[in-house]
Amino acid sequence: MSREQQVVKRARKAFQTGKTKPLEQRIQQLKSLLCFITERRKDIADSVKRDLGRSEHGAELFETLGVEGEIKLAIEKLAEWAAPRPVEKNLLTISDEVFVHPEPLGVVLIIGAWNYPWAVTLKPLVGAIAAGNAAVIKPSEVSCHSAKVMEELLPQYLDKDLYPVVAGGVPETQELLKQRFDHIFYTGNSTVGKLVMEAAARHLTPVTLELGGKSPCYIDKNCDIPVACRRITWGKFVNCGQTCIAPDYILCEPSIQSTVLEEIKKCIKEFYTDNPKTFEDYGRIINQRHFKRLMTLMEGSTVAVGGDIDESQCYIAPTVLKNVTGDSRVMKEEIFGPLLPIITVNGVDEAIQFINDREKPLVVYIFSHDNRIIKRVIAETSSGALLANDCLVHYTVTALPFGGVGNSGMGCYHGRHSFDQFSHLRSCLIKQLKMEGVNSMRYPPHTAKKLGWARFLLLKQINVSRLRRMVLLAMLSGLAAFVVQRFLR
C-alpha cells in the first residue's frame, strides 16, 4: 500500500469513529488551528518570505489575517450553521417535522496553491473541519518552504489522523487522486483542474474548483482616474501580480490612456519606491519557470512603465505594457505576474464585447461614477464576482460566496459558504404512524374521488405562517364578535 493510500485509510477510519461529529470537538480543532497561526506567526512569515519574497507584514496581511477571521467566525457561528434548518410544509405534513440536516461528507481532499500557500490551503480547511469532515491537506510543492513548515508543524496542533498533511509533487498528487474522497477542493489552474475533475469522476466525487482566468478591468473615461489607478496599482502588484483575482488587463478609451499610464507610474513609485528591487514590500516571482514564462509574455508589446528584470532573483519590476491587442502574446493566458497590459476600446459597448468574447473570468472590475454603466456591465457579462471601483477587497467580505464560473471554476467558499460546501444537506421528514386514515386517499384501489382529495392535500403548498396569521385573525374576529354580542347589545 502506498503512503497516500495509508494516510487516506487512516483518515477514513478516524472519521468513522465519529469523533468529528460533536461540535465541541470541531471547535477544539479550530481553536488549535488558531493557536498554530498565532504561535507560529514567525515560522509562517519566514516561509512566505523564502517562497515569494513577501515581507512579514505582507504575509500577515494577505495570508493569516484572513484565516484568523474565518476561524473566529466559524467558532462563533458553528452551532447556528450545523443546526437543522426547518422548511415549509404542505397540508398533509403539517404536523410533521420537516427540515434540512447538515451532515459531514466524510474524508475530503484539499489541494492548495503556491501563491498564497497558507490562505488558500487553510481557509478551505476551516470549512472542512467546521462541517465535521476529516481532511487530507496537500500543499503546493511549488511554495516548498511553506509546504515544509505546514508538514512539520501542523500535526503538532491538529489531530494527526483526521487532518494529515501530505507533501510532495506531481506523482504524490496523482497517487492521492487515485484514492476515494467524498469531496475534492482544488485551487490552481484550469489545466490541472480538468485532471482533478477527471480523476474525481472515477469515484463520482464532487469537486470545488477555484481556478483563474484573465480578470478584465474597465476604466470609464469620466471617472476619478487618479483614485482608480491607485486602487488598480495596489490590486495588480500585490504579491507581484500572482493573485488569482488580480486585475489581469486594463480596458479603456484611447483618450485617457496616457493619463492612466502616468497615474499608475506615480502610484508604483509611491508604493514601491524608485527601486522596487530593494524595497522590502515588493515580492518576487515564485520560480525560474514562471519567470521565463512571464518574459515570453512580454514579447510583441511595448513596455510603457518598468520592464527591469533580474533573472538571478526572479525579479520583474512593476511593468505596464501598451500597444497590446486581443491577439498579443500577453493576452493568450492568465498573466499571474507584474505585467499590466492596457488595451484601448471605444467605450463600454466594445469593452463588454471584448470581455464576452473570452472565457468567464474570476472577477470583472469596472471603474465608473455612472451607476448605469456599472449596472450594464453587471447585466451583460458573467464572472465569478464583480467589483466596482476597487480591486481584490470583495475577498474580505466573508458573507459573499467566493468562487468562479465556467473556466474560472465551480463551487464557492468563505464563511458559511465553506461550511455548506463541505456539508451534505440531508432532507428529513419525521412522521408519526398515527393518522393513517388520511393516507388512505393515496392508496389503491384508485377512485376519482380519492384522486381529487389526494391532488388537493398531497401537493398543494401551504404557507404555514400565513395559515397561522389567518387562524389568529379568525380567532380575533370570533373574540370581537363575542365581545360585541355580550357587552355592546
Binding site: H57, W234, V397, L451
Partner: protein, 469 residues
C-alpha cells in the same frame, strides 16, 4: 453529431442575445408548460401507459400533478428568487453595496430517466428556466412513447430558439456530450454517470447527478405494524418498485418480520385485490430486458419467496413479491433492485442494523419505521443518505422546500423548488464601492507598517460590525 452541434449553437446564440434573462420571458415559458400539461393530459397519460402501464392515478399524481404543482410554485416565487440578496459586511466595507446576484449559466443539458419520464425531465427543466438558461432536453429512449410525445409538444409550447429536445440512444447521447454545456443534469445510473463526468471535465462543466442506490428500510422499536405495512407497501410497489426512492429492502428482527408479513399480505389485497395482475392500479416492468433481469434475481436468490412470485413475460408482469431469509451476500443485495421484489433481512438489533447500512454505499433515501422517537433519532444521527423519512416512504420528495438529491454513490447536487433554481444559477458576488474615503484605503497600501496592520485587523474583523452598527 452535426445536427446536435447546430442545436447547441442555436441555443447559445439565443442565450447570448439575452432573451432568457427578463423575468417575463421565464414566466411565459412556465405558463406555457402549464398549458401544455392541461391541453395534452390524455396524450401524456396514454404514452405513460404504453411505456410503463402506469395506472392513471399514479401517472396523474407522480407525473402530471407534481410538475404542475412545481410550475405554480415557481411562478409564485420567481420574483423573490431572482432578487439580489444583500449580505452583511465588515466595518471596512460598511458603506459599500454588497449583494449576490443569481445569473443563468447559459446552455444546460438535462438527461432524463425512464421510470418517471415526464417528472425527471420537466422538474429540473423548471429550475433551469427559472434561472434563465436555455435547455437541451434528452429524454430516455427506453420510455419511447413519452420521448416521442415530448419531442412533439415541447417545440409547440416553448420558444424553439431557447429549448430543444434531442432524441436517441447511447450513441446520440455520447455525441451530444461532446458539445460544451454550462451545466449538465443527469438522472440515472452510476456507470453512465461516470462517463458523463468524464465528458464534463473536458469543458469544466459543473454537473448534478441524481443516481440511485439501495434504500434501506429499518423497522425497530415498538411499531404499529398495520400502518407501517400499508405505507411500506404503497411506497415499495408504486410504479412496480421502479422508483429511485423506493424502499429497496427491509431490516428488522425475526419477531417484527413475523408480525409484518401478514400485514403486508393484507395491504396488498386491500390495494390490488386478490389477483394483482387484474388490478388496473399496478404497473408493469418497463422493458423485456428489465423483466428478465428481475426474474433472474428471483431465480438466483437463496432466500424464500413468501408472498407473490407470479409473473407473465408477455405482459412484463411481476407480482408484488416478498423474499425472506435473505443473506447479506445474496444476489438480491448486489445491486439496486428497481422492481417489485422486497427482500427482508433479519437483523436482531438496531445497532447491528445501523452498522449494516453504514457498511454499504450511501443511498438516495433511508427509511425508519418506529413509534419510538429515540430509535428514529439514533438512525438519523448515525447514518447518512440523500434524504431521510421516518414512518413513510417516498413522500418526502413531494415537498419542494426539501432539496432532493443524493450523497456519495447516490449522487450530488439537488433540486425541487428553490433548490432547482439555485442549482441552475451562478451566484455572482457583487460589490459596489464608493469613491470617497480613499484616505482609509491608505491603510492597505505599501509601505506596510505594524500600525496600519493593527487598524486593518480591527476594521476587517466580523465582530466589530455587529457591536458598533
Amino acid at each position: 453529431m452535426d445536427a446536435q452541434k447546430k442545436i447547441v449553437d442555436r441555443l447559445r446564440t439565443s442565450f447570448r442575445s439575452g432573451v432568457t434573462v427578463p423575468e417575463q420571458f421565464r414566466r411565459t415559458q412556465l405558463n406555457n408548460l402549464i398549458e401544455m400539461l392541461k391541453d395534452s393530459e390524455e396524450l401524456i397519460l396514454d404514452a405513460l401507459h404504453k411505456d410503463l402501464a402506469k395506472p392513471k392515478f399514479e401517472a396523474i399524481l407522480s407525473e402530471i400533478d407534481i410538475v404542475t404543482n412545481e410550475l405554480y410554485y415557481a411562478i409564485a416565487n420567481l420574483s423573490s428568487w431572482m432578487q439580489q440578496e444583500y449580505v452583511s459586511k465588515n466595518l471596512a466595507t460598511k458603506l459599500d453595496e454588497c449583494f449576490v446576484k443569481r445569473e443563468p449559466f447559459g446552455v444546460v443539458l438535462i438527461i432524463g430517466a425512464w421510470n418517471y419520464p415526464l417528472q425527471l425531465l420537466l422538474l429540473p427543466m423548471i429550475g433551469a428556466i427559472c434561472a434563465g438558461n436555455c435547455v437541451v432536453l434528452k429524454p430516455s429512449e427506453v420510455s419511447a412513447a413519452t420521448e416521442a410525445v415530448l419531442a412533439e409538444l415541447i417545440p409547440k409550447y416553448l420558444s424553439q430558439d431557447c429549448f430543444a429536445v434531442v432524441c436517441g440512444g447511447a450513441e446520440e447521447t455520447k455525441a451530444l456530450l461532446q458539445n460544451r454545456f454550462d451545466h449538465i443534469f443527469y438522472t440515472g445510473s452510476q456507470t453512465v454517470a461516470r462517463s458523463i463526468l468524464q465528458a464534463a471535465s473536458i469543458h469544466l462543466t459543473p454537473v448534478t447527478l441524481e443516481l440511485g442506490g439501495k434504500c434501506p428500510c429499518l423497522i425497530y422499536g415498538g411499531v404499529n405494524t398495520t400502518s407501517a405495512a400499508r405505507r411500506l407497501v404503497w411506497a415499495k410497489f408504486f410504479n412496480a418498485g421502479q422508483s429511485c426512492v423506493a424502499p429497496d429492502y427491509v431490516l428488522c428482527s425475526a419477531a417484527t418480520r413475523d408480525l409484518l408479513l401478514p400485514e403486508i399480505q393484507k395491504a396488498l389485497e386491500d390495494f390490488y385485490g386478490a389477483d394483482c395482475k387484474k388490478s388496473p392500479d399496478f404497473s408493469r416492468i418497463v422493458s423485456p430486458r428489465h423483466w428478465c433481469r428481475l426474474m433472474e434475481l428471483l431465480g438466483k436468490t437463496s432466500g424464500k419467496v413468501v408472498i407473490g412470485g407470479e409473473n407473465d413475460q408477455k405482459e412484463r408482469y411481476i407480482a408484488p413479491t416478498v423474499v425472506v431469509d435473505v443473506a447479506e451476500d445474496d444476489v438480491l443485495m448486489a445491486e439496486e433492485i428497481f422492481g417489485p421484489i422486497l427482500p427482508i433481512i433479519t437483523v436482531e438489533s438496531l445497532e447491528k442494523s445501523i452498522d449494516f447500512v453504514n457498511s454499504k454505499e450511501k443511498p438516495l433515501a433511508l427509511y425508519v419505521f418506529s413509534d419510538n422517537s429515540s430509535v428514529v433519532r439514533a438512525v438519523l444521527e448515525s447514518t447518512s443518505s440523500g434524504g431521510f423519512c421516518s414512518n413513510d416512504g417516498i413522500i418526502h420528495m413531494t415537498l419542494p422546500g426539501l432539496p432532493f438529491g443524493g450523497v456519495g454513490a447516490s449522487g450530488f447536487g439537488s433540486y425541487h423548488g428553490r433548490w432547482g433554481f439555485e442549482t441552475f444559477s451562478h451566484r455572482r458576488a457583487c460589490m459596489l464601492r464608493g469613491w470617497a474615503l480613499e484616505r482609509l484605503n491608505g491603510l492597505r497600501y505599501p509601505p506596510y507598517t505594524e500600525e496600519k496592520l493593527g487598524w486593518l485587523r480591527w476594521t476587517a474583523s466580523p465582530k466589530t460590525s455587529c457591536t458598533l452598527m
